[in-house]
């Protein structure tokens, strides 16, 4: 027989449980996350401001944040910033959506059926390694320098990568999920529609988010070479007139637009896939 031992009196906690920030893959409060993110963005801005305000830089080559901000204002009011943003966003979105329109089904087939994979993947892999930028002269020869050339360059830059990433996302769908459907008598098309696609959706959205970022890179390349409008073109023109503040403004604006798009994708993911969080 074991006698019950009296439990020790509960003691008042002398010190709160220690919380360390340096836990591997640890959790962090929302406030701390926002605070750190803001600090990470503001700190370089402060350094930049202090450096230029102290007169350490030649404003001709490196304007301060105040000058850049003033330039953004003037660009907006007098130099048609909205139109520049509009045409750039339009080009990125057209190229990117066109890319997605073809890459999604193609990647789905490559990732699902071995023969398609064996047939198309090496070719896609090969083209992917050809620098999209090097296609620009060819594109200009073939389609000239109208809107479609910019869209085409973005398409070439993102499409082949996207196909391979989509195929990989589809291949990552656990075999157990597919086999479970098979043992319930699902047909091939039902498995694709009811298992593979829904299962891969979060990964696919992530792929779109990442390739959308690349689309912006190729947009600027296209506009630097073959355009007379848009943010990339504005940056190039600013160089000709030694408007360093406008170059800075253009680069930062593209960064801001990219960041916003990225956040929009993440938000969409959280809203569309509530089952991902515990």
């Amino acid at each position: 027989m074991s006698a019950h031992q009296p439990l020790p009196e509960p003691q008042a906690a002398t010190q709160p449980a220690r919380q360390s920030w340096w836990v591997i893959r640890g959790e962090l409060s929302r406030g701390a996350i926002w605070g750190l993110a803001a600090a990470g963005l503001i700190l370089p801005l402060l350094v930049w401001w202090a450096y230029t305000a102290a007169g350490l830089a030649n404003p001709m080559f490196m304007p301060g944040p105040d000058a850049v901000l003033a330039r953004v204002g003037r660009w907006w009011s007098d130099e048609g910033l909205l139109a520049d943003i509009g045409i750039s966003v339009y080009r990125v979105m057209t190229g990117f959506l066109l890319s997605a329109l073809f890459a999604l089904p193609l990647g789905l087939y490559i990732g699902t059926y071995r023969p398609v994979q064996a047939f198309l993947e090496p070719l896609t892999d090969f083209i992917r390694y050809m620098p999209a930028v090097a296609f620009i002269p060819l594109v200009m020869l073939w389609v000239g320098i109208d809107e479609s050339s910019k869209v085409l360059i973005i398409f070439i830059g993102t499409f082949f990568q996207m196909v391979l990433m989509v195929a990989e996302d589809v291949r990552r769908v656990p075999m157990a999920q597919i086999e479970a459907a098979q043992t319930m008598g699902a047909s091939r098309s039902e498995i694709v529609k009811l298992v593979i696609l829904p299962s891969a959706r979060p990964a696919l959205l992530d792929t779109l988010r990442i390739t959308c970022g690349w689309a912006w890179t190729y947009l600027v390349v296209a506009e630097l070479v073959a355009a007379n409008s848009g943010l990339g073109y504005a940056i190039l023109k600013a160089q000709r007139y030694m408007q360093t503040d406008k170059i800075f403004a253009g680069i930062i604006l593209i960064g801001v637009i990219g960041l916003l798009t990225d956040q929009a994708f993440r938000w969409l993911g959280r809203a569309a896939f509530p089952w991902l969080k515990r």
Binding site: A176, Q177, A180, T183, M184, A186, V195, S199, L276
Partner: protein, 287 residues
């Protein structure tokens, strides 16, 4: 062994062999397997790792193509997976984007199933079945939860309910409780026996836990590796109605000891033990 009258067998396995060919070698996963399984039988499979238990189960399920021999269900050869055979895997194969109820009802979106459901009455029956399974599994409070909000035992219960939904005649279970703790496992054992009685299904159950195999099975098939084959088939000397106390009975323990000893003999582990003894004997001298 126990089955003489094989003409009425639900599943007949005749001379089934399976060879896996990988780049530089061939693995004889199954060799000349012969086995008859009766309707409404609960048969369990044990054996050393790699003896082909999963391969056999997957072949019956139609997920794996056997190289030779034939598997007959009610006299018809297996050519692929089908709605008459449900499978429960060790690793949770639930659909994380569907909640518990949607997972259980998954098969109703499939053409093979929806074709059988035509009238409003059929739909009502099907819905009733989903609710009944949810209750049977003790999950009614969680019908809207997503799989990753459930414990491992609950997830596996959802997987079983989903497998049972289309009223399969045969239930194939491959170490379904392998990842669960001992207490949850006991609960699941009684649950699955209850299901077996209720649904009159034929259950093939693979495990590496001999106690589990004896407690659940009417027969225990012991398989041996390299090449994968059936070594011995044991009849379990326990009444059809089981309870946890029987695990302490003399018959149970004797059979358990016998099977464990046989697994050790067939697994090639004994030679490993000899090697180990040799090592420990020679070590002081070597040092």
């Amino acid at each position: 062994m126990a089955v003489e009258n094989s003409s009425g067998a639900k599943i007949r396995i005749r001379q089934v062999s399976k060879v896996f060919k990988t780049r530089n070698r061939e693995v004889q996963a199954l060799q000349d397997i012969n086995l008859d399984i009766q309707r409404n039988e609960f048969i369990t499979f044990v054996g050393a790792s790699g003896c082909g238990k999963s391969t056999l189960l997957r072949s019956i399920g139609g997920l794996e193509q056997h190289s030779r021999g034939e598997i007959l269900l009610d006299g018809r050869a297996v050519t692929g997976p089908g709605i008459d055979r449900a499978m429960v895997f060790q690793h949770y194969s639930l659909y994380p984007w569907l909640n518990v109820m949607q997972n259980i009802k998954f098969c109703r979106q499939l053409k093979v199933v929806s074709d059988t459901v035509k009238t409003d009455g059929d739909i009502e029956v099907a819905s009733g079945r989903a609710d009944a399974l949810l209750n049977l599994m003790g999950l009614s409070a969680f019908h809207q939860a997503y799989p990753n909000q459930l414990s491992g035992g609950m997830q596996q219960r959802v997987a079983i309910a989903r497998a049972l939904m289309p009223k399969p005649e045969i239930l194939l279970m491959d170490e379904p409780f392998g990842a669960l703790d001992a207490q949850t496992r006991e609960v699941m054992h009684d649950l699955i026996r209850h299901v077996h009685r209720l649904e009159k299904s034929t259950i093939l159950f693979v495990t590496h836990d001999v106690e589990e195999a004896i407690y659940l099975g009417g027969r225990v098939v012991l398989m041996a590796p390299r090449p994968g084959r059936i070594d011995t088939i044991y009849d379990v000397p326990l009444p059809a109605e089981r309870n946890q106390d029987m695990k302490l009975s003399a018959e149970f323990l004797t059979l358990k000891r016998e099977i464990l000893a046989r697994i050790r003999e067939t697994s090639g582990m004994s030679t490993d033990l000899e090697l180990l003894e040799q090592l420990t004997r020679t070590q002081p001298a070597a040092l």
